[in-house]
């Protein structure tokens, strides 16, 4: 059934947005982290996603039906590369010689916007999925008594 392609496309979009939410939550959780996994400061991360190679191809079983295969995929999760936020806290164990502590350069407002955008995009994927499902169920109603 060619509706499975629509489901797979929506599913790939949901996977990407889910990862975006995970990464944004990780950034928010580490807003006050002074030590990262490698001992250095935590670097804010961002998800780079791209379109999966979309192509129309003819089904093997039905020559007249065209199918669209593709979707979205995560290309990479990379560090944003913003300068750390320096706060003067001489008593902090991670303070440098001048008494400054390097907090990650995370902007909570930007992170919240990314979070909301990811959530809305996820919802849009669910809406597209539900539309495909409704269409399939409507097709099954063809010739019915209702």
């Amino acid at each position: 059934m060619d509706y499975m392609a629509a489901f797979a496309i929506s599913g790939s979009g949901m996977s990407v947005e889910k990862l975006r939410l995970d990464v944004t939550a990780l950034n928010i959780a580490n807003v006050h982290s002074t030590r990262g996994p490698e001992g250095t400061g935590y670097e804010p991360l961002q998800v780079i996603s791209g379109a999966r190679q979309a192509q129309l191809f003819r089904s093997v079983f039905a020559a007249e039906s065209l199918r669209l295969a593709g979707g979205a995929e995560v290309l990479e999760v990379r560090t944003v590369g913003v300068a750390p936020r320096l706060v003067y806290e001489p008593n902090h164990p991670d303070a440098d010689a001048a008494g400054f502590v390097a907090y990650p350069g995370i902007n909570p407002v930007n992170e919240m916007v990314t979070l909301l955008a990811a959530m809305r995009a996820y919802e849009a994927n669910v809406a597209a999925f539900n539309a495909a499902k409704t269409m399939a169920l409507k097709a099954l109603e063809l010739g019915g008594n209702g």
Binding site: M1, Y3, M4, F7, A8, S10, G11, M14, S15, K18, V126, F129, K133, A136, L137, L140, G143
Partner: protein, 103 residues
């Protein structure tokens, strides 16, 4: 005014509603084809139901990474099953129509 539709719609002109010679010869093979299609579709539906079941099991065990993959598998299984139910309804309807036929 005489309008020749075959020249206006070349795509329609090529189609024939009457069965051609090769279509008549392949009628036996066509009946077998439907049985094969039904068998394959039933097997496919069964596979989807089993896959959905396994996904739910993995979700319960905490092994799955994405909730929406489970839901998509469930929806696919549901849709396949409903298609099968509709095919069965149509078949039964046709059979009962024939059964009610006056001889």
């Amino acid at each position: 005014m005489n309008i020749d539709t075959s020249t206006l719609l070349p795509a329609v002109a090529g189609t024939r509603l009457t069965p051609t010679a090769d279509a008549g010869a392949g009628a036996g093979a066509g009946a077998l084809g439907f049985a094969q299609w039904l068998e394959r579709s039933l097997a496919e539906t069964n596979t989807r139901l089993i896959a959905a079941d396994q996904q739910v099991q993995r979700l319960a065990l905490g092994e799955t990474d994405n909730l929406h993959h489970v839901m998509i598998a469930l929806e696919e299984a549901k849709l396949s099953f409903q298609l099968m139910v509709q095919v069965r309804n149509k078949l039964l309807e046709a059979y009962q129509d024939i059964l009610r036929m006056q001889v």
